[in-house]
């Protein structure tokens, strides 16, 4: 439902977010349309992304597995989940920066809730994630492995991880609409982040005294771990889960305050 009843009060961030969630159908339809576009005039469609991802996982897995002398049956599933999830996070962040800018035309004409555009970006990338995730069972099959009961933890993990990504996207989309250069900086940070976060190397390969600094202060380490560890048969540490929960709560509080403060300015910056 477009927020058609305006009054002298500003629309609060809370109203915006609840209206967008209440009309999730619109965001899902637009997000789905973005993916559907890849299927037009192409029979493989969005699976091209999956094929690319598969090749990347295979190549990097073989090279880094050999460099680190890790057993392939352990390393390949590890790098597989890591790369897929990192791809998901970095696309969400990079495209989150552009969520408002790429919807300029619509935003200047229809008073839709702004969070709808964020949900559209999230939904589009989540659909692509579900394409990519099919690589994982294939990798497991190759090594004759099976997923364990612990894998069920990915359900709450995905929920928490999405909450975290969404608040980051809310803040980034607002700032990046105002400061256009920031998008480039964020892209850079995400590029470097891939090497700083344990995706192509394993956390236990770090010297113990350095791991607190490098791992525990990296939010993406926790966001990756709560998904990756359960899929590989573990659970993720209590710290991983604690950080993800606390970050979701604190992040959303900050994002709502932030959106509330700048919401009425955003269309002027487009």
């Amino acid at each position: 439902m477009p927020m058609t009843i305006a009054n002298s009060q500003k629309i609060t961030a809370w109203e915006d977010v609840t209206a967008a969630v209440g009309n999730f159908r619109l965001a899902a339809l637009l997000g789905w349309q973005d993916v559907a576009q890849r299927y037009r005039r192409s029979s493989v469609g969005a699976f091209w992304l999956t094929i690319n991802m598969g090749v990347l996982i295979g190549a990097l897995g073989l090279i880094f597995g050999t460099i680190f002398r890790s057993p392939m049956s352990e390393f390949l599933p590890f790098i597989c989940v890591g790369l897929i999830m990192w791809g998901y996070y970095s696309q969400l962040i990079n495209e989150g920066c552009l969520s408002f800018i790429s919807n300029t035309e619509t935003m200047l004409q229809l008073p839709l809730p702004f969070f709808t555009y964020i949900l559209r970006t999230w939904w589009r990338n989540s659909i692509i994630l579900f394409h990519n995730i099919v690589i994982f069972p294939v990798v497991l099959l190759i090594f004759g492995k099976f997923i364990s009961f612990n894998s069920l933890l990915v359900i709450p993990a995905f929920f928490l991880v999405s909450l975290n990504m969404l608040w980051m996207m809310v803040i980034l989309s607002v700032i990046c609409t105002r400061y256009r250069d920031l998008t480039q900086i964020i892209q850079n940070i995400m590029q470097v982040g891939m090497y700083v976060t344990p995706i192509m190397w394993q956390p236990h390969q770090l010297p113990a005294d350095k791991s607190i600094l490098i791992l525990d202060f990296n939010p993406f380490y926790h966001l990756i771990s709560v998904i990756r560890d359960p899929l590989l048969g573990g659970t993720g540490t209590l710290l991983n889960w604690g950080v993800v929960v606390v970050m979701a709560l604190a992040g959303w509080t900050a994002a709502l305050l932030f959106l509330n403060r700048f919401r009425s300015r955003v269309t002027y910056w487009l």
């Binding site: 009843i5 159908r25 637009l30 576009q37 004409q109």
Partner: protein, 249 residues
């Protein structure tokens, strides 16, 4: 009760990429456009609208005139809830829809039928409402089998017909338009005009910006003449139209 009230509405556009230094100490007004100045932070600011007071009630038909850059589009955007005024207050009671660019959200690679769904969702229809309207839209558009073809295969006229058919099934209480909607060839234009008149007559408050004297005098009871983002004249349609068009010809 449908109503719209603007009290002392002012809109300032911050321009962040303009060199504020060169304009720092001067405030200049141009022949067209708003007033360029700078705000407290030293950013260049264009004043799009200044102290607009308009109050509309059930049955009001408001026309907006003014040359390019006089603030018509900005005012329409404030009225449709896209811009929140940087000064003053606006209060809107009623379901308000703007038909400024009816082709918004049309995806050229998707089929006509898919586009009906997308555009309908953007206009705020629920799935059920959409299912009810689908047949009506398809019939009105007269696109027949082309509805299953990607929109990129349509001629410009056919694309307009599709966009028009979807956009005019709405039943708003407040309707905002930028110029009268044109659609397709002679035959369709006639039918489209009829539907648009019907829509305009049903809506409780109409706000339309136009450069056509005929159109404004025919459809409006009141006209506001904007210049440099300020109201230059506000009165009954005939008087303002004569003053504006007399003055400009």
């Amino acid at each position: 009760m449908t109503s719209m009230t603007l009290e002392d509405v002012t809109v300032d556009f911050p321009i962040y990429n303009a060199k504020s230094r060169s304009l720092k100490n001067q405030v200049m007004s141009l022949a067209t456009g708003g007033t360029i100045g700078s705000n407290a932070d030293g950013h260049v600011v264009i004043r799009g609208l200044e102290s607009i007071n308009i109050s509309l009630n059930d049955g009001d038909r408001l026309g907006l005139i003014g040359h390019n850059g006089s603030g018509k589009t900005t005012l329409l955007r404030v009225m449709s809830g896209v811009y929140y005024p940087s000064g003053g207050r606006i209060s809107i009671q009623g379901k308000c829809t703007s038909l400024i660019n009816i082709s918004l959200g049309i995806d050229a690679e998707a089929t006509g039928r898919e586009n009906i769904g997308i555009r309908g969702a953007l206009l705020g229809f629920t799935k059920r409402e959409m299912a009810e309207k689908q047949a009506e839209i398809e019939e009105f558009s007269e696109l027949g089998n082309f509805l299953d073809m990607p929109v990129r295969t349509y001629s410009t006229g056919m694309q307009l017909r599709l966009a028009f058919s979807i956009s005019t099934v709405i039943q708003p209480e407040i309707l905002i338009m930028d110029e009268w909607l044109a659609a397709g060839d002679e035959g369709f234009q006639h039918k489209a005009n009829e539907r648009l008149h019907e829509l305009v007559n049903k809506t409780k408050i109409l706000i339309i910006a136009s450069h056509s004297k005929d159109l404004l005098v025919k459809n409006c009871t009141r006209i506001v003449w904007l210049e440099h983002g300020k109201v230059k004249m506000d009165g009954d349609a005939e008087t303002v139209a004569n003053a504006y068009f007399g003055h400009h010809s």
